[in-house]
Symmetry: C2
Subunit: 399 residues, 2 copies
């Protein structure tokens, strides 16, 4: 670990078992943890203005290096004064490295088997080659061949000017075998060192860098990766790659990984953000979570509700909501719940009206925000176990 308070400072304010409540001080201000991080994939949280995202209580959003690299390109964003200025977001920003997208979009989903190198992409694929130097792939926009290496990823993230950059990694899939996962992890560790070397020489002084632990579902690999990343001199640690085939296996992978991370580092679980996973992850001592699910669900007419039997979801496009005068969630302060009932929201969603997407997006993000805020308060009060138990049993975060 490196410590550089000017770049990033992480303060653990309270602990409750393994769970922590903290403050992450970035170049663009503080972030209360545990935090859920909405995705501003292409330079906007879909359908919302930056000011609205801040208005929901979010302090940190995540931009996607891969998408922004393909379009509009780092030069145009740098010319605008960086991603903060480009998208009109004044708070802290984290950017992923592009690794996840290069691999998952090239192979048709992260669960798709990633085995050989030099493999042509299939129907969804655009991978040209994976080599020690970096990754060649085709742009999903115009088919142009593009190249990302650890250095290119850091260079792009430097141009974006995010507060926190993630190192370039290979995101291994569940179906990759142990041998491939091990070799890929070792390359990811070499890429980690190249990212840090480039960043030390040429990265923005106030940009922090998080390393990424890989190793699939294999305990020795996760352990080895946790150690390698912890010793590499990063500002924080993310957990990437496959976490298994189900929630049980995910819990196992996290339990074998998180305790091996240094206490003083902020810990980011990449791409996870279902309600139950979030409270489970907080309980294990994770601090940051980013996930497309809440906003993606909104685009498909699905709202978050305190109903564990239905995976905390209600699909408003299904019939049977006619005449239902109840709000989505009693006590939720979002405009969908404050101003409308399930009858209308269900009608709007089935009619595929933009207003439905927007209202559900506001609701789902309000829900996630309240969920982590509640967890934070519970940790400070030494009552996290009971908070987690309540949420998993169907208690409302707005109760």
């Amino acid at each position: 670990m490196r410590v550089d308070a000017d770049r990033l400072r992480f303060e653990v304010e309270a602990r409750d078992g393994a769970a922590r409540a903290g403050l992450l001080h970035t170049a663009h201000g503080p972030v209360e943890t545990p935090a859920f991080i909405p995705l501003a994939t292409k330079g906007t949280v879909r359908g919302l203005e930056s000011a609205e995202v801040a208005g929901l209580g979010y302090e940190l959003v995540l931009g996607n290096t891969y998408h922004l690299f393909v379009s509009p390109g780092p030069e145009r964003i740098a010319a605008a004064g960086g991603l903060h200025a480009f998208m009109g977001w004044e708070g802290p920003l984290i950017t992923d490295s592009g690794g996840f997208q290069v691999f998952s979009l090239s192979h048709g989903g992260v669960a798709y088997e990633v085995k050989g190198s030099g493999r042509q992409g299939g129907e969804h694929g655009s991978m040209v080659s994976i080599a020690e130097e970096g990754v060649r792939f085709r742009s999903y926009r115009d088919g142009a061949e593009l190249f990302i290496s650890p250095e290119v990823s850091m260079q792009v993230q430097a141009a974006l000017g995010s507060d926190i950059a993630l190192v370039f990694d290979e995101c291994t899939a569940y179906h990759a075998d142990r041998d491939y996962t091990a070799r890929s992890m070792e390359r990811t560790h070499r890429w980690l060192r190249r990212c840090l070397d480039w960043h030390r020489r040429e990265g923005p002084e106030r940009q922090a860098v998080f390393g990424i632990v890989q190793g699939g579902v294999h305990e020795e690999l996760r352990r080895e990766s946790a150690q390698a990343v912890s010793e590499a001199g990063v500002d924080g640690i993310a957990i990437g790659g496959t976490l298994g085939r189900d929630k049980e296996e995910m819990a196992g992978v996290l339990e074998m990984t998180v305790p091996r991370l240094p206490e003083e580092a902020p810990r980011h679980l990449l791409g996870i953000g279902e309600v139950d996973d979030l409270v489970a992850g907080i309980g294990l001592g994770l601090d940051l979570f980013d996930c497309a699910v809440p906003t993606r669900l909104a685009r498909h007419g699905v709202a978050l509700v305190p109903d564990p039997a239905r995976r905390f979801r209600i699909d408003l496009r299904k019939s049977g909501r006619e005449g239902n005068r109840a709000p989505l969630v009693e006590g939720c302060p979002c405009p969908a719940c404050r101003n409308h009932d399930r009858d209308y929201l269900s009608y709007l969603s089935r009619a595929e009206e933009l207003t439905a997407v927007r209202l559900l997006c506001l609701h789902n993000l309000t829900y996630m925000r309240r969920l982590v805020a509640g967890a934070r308060r519970a940790i400070a009060a030494g009552a996290f176990d009971s908070y987690r138990g309540g949420i998993l049993a169907g208690a409302s975060p707005f109760a």
Copy 2:
């Protein structure tokens, strides 16, 4: 004309030439005129919450009887307490009669030739029959055969509970010949009497009814229709049907029609809302304008700007905006102009991000609102000619 202050009262506060500035008092509050009326086609202004529409300064929105009849149906809206309660809109509401949609959707657009009756719809068509009794057509949702007559239209609008209902009419197309247009107009006048008869017997007491002048581009027909509608005992008068093939012919039709309408009636020009048409219409003494254009343009990446040479539009999806740091319109208080530049808005529009649709929708509606508010002030100050001249020459409504 009938006068019933409890239902509707129209107060002309100032005149400047033929232009009027007024107040339309409805059961749900007053509307300053001239007014632009955003469309809440299916029970929402696309992408915006009701509170936001009100926040933009709009007092009156228009719901579409045809769409709401097809889905979710008048029973469900009545069960919610009417359209106001269903969509969470507390201000005045106007509903069209369904006539325009039945005819234009069935014939693939209002410009499509509408000639015979009993004609099967074509590729876009779903018309089954047009007869004295009413119109049979197929639902665009599930192909079910539906029937709208003057009585059904008024019954549906009664269930919606709008402040202003429009009578059921046949909307004749430009390519209909004089003979068809005349026969159609006469039937529309018979339908008008049936609408009013039904409404007198069974309509909501506080719902006003506007008649619709038809007659195509033919002076004698427009004159005859203006007289028939004026004498029928309506609360206000709308101008419908084809207004010609271009703006010049539209001006001719309006010039032959508007002066024949009673001074004391509010006058609504149906479906017209381009910047130049609006100031021209206000100059001729029209008070209300509804139009899908500002919100539809937003969905296609087009923003309103004070540029008469480009039809007051800028297409942000066209290339060449990269690095342009100017706002869409200097001085515009909308979030698109206040927080973003053309470079970012163009990127977002080309990326087809929902945020772009929303930002442009807010911009275009802010633009239209400011345009009519400026016209209203100019009329009160006796300076409407110079205001109209300025707008047509490229003056900004935000100047």
